[in-house]
């Protein structure tokens, strides 16, 4: 009887404060978290690791659902269609920034407010151990000698290997055959089995295989050497043409719709900032080869814009887009 009474009181309290209630009380009910990619993937791990830290700070649960598919377009469309009350969070990666030029969706991060961009990843170029190359220069020379014969593992349009591959094509004459797999994990699997010769991959997916010596790393797609990969050449050493596009990599963040009330945004920004600075989270993220960013608001928006302009134009120049970035007002870098 008592519990029923309590329940009634709680329901009444909810009714009076309600979704349209005082923003200062936000949040008054469970939040819904939509994860852009499938369970067990990089985005999923980043999202599911931060929510248990955020929940006690917010004082509410976040109910997480994976809505993979459509290269991320399913999740952005879903969250964009939810009410702008701050109760629907989008845990996403870099992909939506290319959806317009790839004609996947008209929704990108311009429609969302960056609550926090937790971290960015670094790309590396890894190769099967049986290949003769010791550096990316060897690979580039070999590819020039026998165009189209070398097989590159990929993950489909807009994916990291595709973008890095396009970057390579833009800077040097680089003609290889790209074989797309369902993700970085399956791509690395094919690389280990020798079914592709090399693959540009996020460091987080490749790190353990590099450490164990099951694949060799030819270059870091970065301007400087990485502390976690001492002795591996940055790609811009042999090919300075790359440096203007760098740093480039995937990123992971949490977003709400642009028109969410400011008080809710402020509360979320504060909470996620605190959660993303937690030692255990930082350790987990850096252990996966990510570089912590923990940025929000205008700073994050500037980052998102720059990322979009660099990447969309690189893809466009490599002939890998369906629509010109110009159509959508994406400025040239």
């Amino acid at each position: 009887m008592n519990t029923r009474l309590l329940g009634a009181v709680a329901a009444l309290a909810l009714l009076t404060t309600g979704p349209a209630g005082h923003a200062a009380d936000y949040p008054t009910k469970d939040l819904q978290g939509t994860i852009m990619w499938g369970a067990g993937g990089a985005t999923d791990v980043v999202a599911r690791a931060i929510t248990p830290i955020v929940e006690p700070l917010l004082g509410q649960k976040i109910v997480m659902v994976n809505r993979a598919g459509g290269g991320g377009a399913i999740s952005t469309a879903f969250v964009a269609a939810r009410p702008s009350d701050g109760y629907s969070l989008l845990f996403g990666a870099e992909n939506p920034q290319l959806h317009k030029v790839l004609e996947l969706s008209q929704i990108d991060y311009a429609d969302f407010y960056p609550v926090n961009i937790m971290a960015r990843g670094v790309a590396v170029i890894v190769a099967n151990n049986d290949t003769p190359w010791t550096s990316f220069k060897d690979l580039a020379e070999d590819a020039a000698k026998r165009p189209g014969e070398i097989k590159m593992g990929s993950t489909g349009p807009g994916g990291l290997p595709h973008v890095v591959g396009s970057l390579l094509k833009t800077v040097i004459d680089f003609n290889v055959t790209s074989v797309p797999f369902d993700g970085e994990g399956p791509g690395i699997t094919a690389l280990l089995g020798g079914h592709v010769d090399f693959m540009p991959s996020g460091l987080s997916a490749a790190a353990e295989h590099i450490k164990a010596g099951r694949v060799k790393v030819l270059a870091v797609v970065n301007n400087e050497e990485l502390a976690s990969l001492p002795g591996v050449q940055p790609i811009s050493t042999d090919f300075p043409g790359f440096s203007k596009y760098l740093p480039w990599g995937p990123f992971y963040g949490v977003f709400v719709k642009r028109d969410v009330p400011d008080a809710a945004k402020a509360k979320l920004v504060e909470t996620f900032k605190q959660a993303a600075s937690t030692a255990s989270y930082v350790e987990m993220m850096e252990g996966r080869g990510n570089i912590m960013m923990n940025i929000a608001g205008d700073e994050a928006d500037a980052f998102l814009k720059k990322w979009q302009s660099t990447t969309a134009w690189v893809l466009h120049e490599a002939g890998a887009t369906k629509a010109s970035p110009e159509t959508f007002g994406i400025p040239k870098p």
Binding site: G40, T51, E149, P157, T189, E283
Partner: protein, 506 residues
């Protein structure tokens, strides 16, 4: 003793909290697995957040329990209601449900429980003994080999077609069509999406499965509402040793299929179960009844295989940090969150993990046996429930289960539409099994063929050469040739001649 394989193996047996968590996981898994739409993958994903602050061993014990219990649990509803609780139980429904209709639901569940656990233990044994060898073997599978595997699987349409092969092929093609909806995995081009964002992600095949099996079956039964429910025999639930012994050779054979298919990244328990069923149908000479009409062999094969696939899926996960199926992909994520680094170094950096997992999975299988064998009587009696009550319940369960896949109402509409379509298909003698086969294998064939072709730069001659140039591929190619040849009249004549010659000569 401390630090030895045996001490790691026994960790979850001796620690009361780990023991309790494994038991709780297995118990929860049996019921989660039994509800269509609630999948093991989903349960394990939820457990990641739930177990965030726990010790990693505790989290793994719970997940291992849920995994083992859940894969087994799918067979329950497959046998009782003809709704596979999970995709890996699709093949179980093919003979399990006819058994329930004969009043042998209790015995069917008993046999499936015991052979599930035998399969599960075989999978764990393979993990313990041969993990590095099997994972190296799994890496050898090139895209062309996945294509050949998918072709072997799709040939199963022939045995699932029922009265007419043409109708079976039609149903299979319908399934392939359903599987093709969504973004092309290679080019991200929309296929059959008609500009709808909701179709970009494709049609969840669990929704198709629930519709074609669950709702369609419920509608068919509504037609004969006044038929008296089948009286279930519930005397001999736990199968005797003599019964089990009879099925052990088949169970071991099916487990071997399960381990390999489970260890292959990209194929899991669902495909393993279907291939084991197909294999049993081709190789078992004198089944207890014809396959599809309640053969216990048709229950033993898929149930052994899908549980053996668990051990198989852990093999690439523990040795290489690569997922063997969707559930181990989530567990890899969990390991990362707990600060471990799944990869080839995992067994060196956290030496306890391998034998801990082996011990824990063994334990989870034993708990599955216990929880599986209790409560069968009550479940079997469910079949005797009046249809006017049971059938609305099935439909409610189907709607809830479909909504639970990803909290999407559109999926529920799809499921209901497939249910109505499946009803008419059944009415006109089309089997729904091939549809699901097409949904599962069609996309695998599609991407594997195109990857294989891309790998040889679209050169058909080179592609044909590759089919025979590599020993592994050659074996798969020859299997398909033999499978096809054995169906031709010439083959029958040839074998008859050989037999005659042997008899005369010997």
């Amino acid at each position: 003793m401390e630090g030895s394989a045996a001490s790691y193996f026994l960790m979850s047996w001796l620690d009361p909290s780990l023991l309790a968590l494994t038991a709780a996981g297995a118990l929860a898994g049996v019921y989660i697995g039994a509800i269509p739409g609630l999948s093991v993958t989903m349960a394990v994903s939820i457990l990641i957040s739930f177990t965030f602050s726990w010790e990693v061993n505790e989290a793994l014990a719970l997940m291992g329990g849920v995994f083992c219990g859940g894969v087994y649990g799918g067979s329950r509803t497959a046998i009782l209601l003809n709704i596979p609780g999970a995709p890996s139980a699709i093949a179980t429904a093919l003979d399990g449900y006819p058994l329930a209709q004969r009043g042998e639901a209790g015995r069917a569940i008993g046999v499936s429980t015991v052979t599930s656990v035998i399969g599960g233990l075989m999978g764990v044994a393979a993990l313990a003994i041969a993990a590095p060898a099997i994972s190296d073997f799994a890496l050898k599978f090139a895209p062309r080999d996945y294509l050949l595997l998918a072709i072997i699987g799709i040939l199963l349409v022939g045995s699932l077609s029922g009265e007419s092969l043409a109708k079976g092929v039609f149903a299979g093609a319908l399934g392939v069509l359903i599987g093709m909806v969504g973004l092309d995995p290679m080019t991200a081009e929309g296929r059959f999406t008609f500009g709808q964002v909701s179709l970009l992600g494709g049609i969840p095949y669990v929704a198709a499965m629930i519709g074609f099996f669950g709702v369609a079956e419920a509608l068919v039964q509504l037609r004969n509402l006044n038929v008296a429910p089948i009286k279930q025999k519930v005397d001999r639930i736990v199968p005797g040793w003599s019964v089990i012994r009879k099925y052990i050779p088949l169970s071991i054979r099916s487990s071997a299929i399960g381990v390999v298919i489970g260890a292959l990244p990209g194929t899991g328990g669902d495909i393993a179960a279907l291939m084991a069923y197909d294999n049993a149908k081709r190789t078992v000479k004198n089944p207890s009844r014809p396959f599809g009409q309640g053969a216990y062999e048709g229950l033993v094969a898929p149930e052994s295989a899908n549980n053996a696939a668990i051990g198989g899926a852990y093999i690439p996960m523990l040795t290489l940090g690569l997922p063997g199926d969707a559930v181990t992909a989530v567990i890899i994520g969990a390991l990362f969150i707990h600060g471990l680094k799944p990869g080839p170094m995992l067994m060196i950096e956290t030496p306890h993990l391998f034998w801990f997992t082996v011990g824990n999975l063994t334990l989870a299988n034993l708990f599955t046996l216990v929880f599986g064998l209790t409560g069968i009587r009550v479940f079997a009696k469910m079949m005797e429930c009046p249809r006017a009550i049971l059938i609305p319940l099935i439909i409610v369960l189907s709607v809830v289960g479909t909504y639970a896949i990803q909290n999407s109402v559109i999926d529920v509409y799809w499921m209901l539409a497939f249910g109505v379509l499946g009803y008419f298909m059944k009415l006109y003698g089309y089997q729904v099994g091939p549809v699901i086969l097409g949904v599962i294998l069609g996309p695998l064939m599609d991407v594997s063929y195109r990857r294989a072709m891309l790998s040889v730069r679209d050169d058909p001659a080179m592609f044909a050469w590759e089919l025979v140039a590599n020993p592994l591929t050659l074996v798969l190619t020859l299997s398909i040739v033999l499978l096809l040849a054995s169906q031709t009249p010439a083959w029958g004549a040839a074998t008859a001649r050989v037999r005659r010659w042997r008899r005369n000569g010997g």
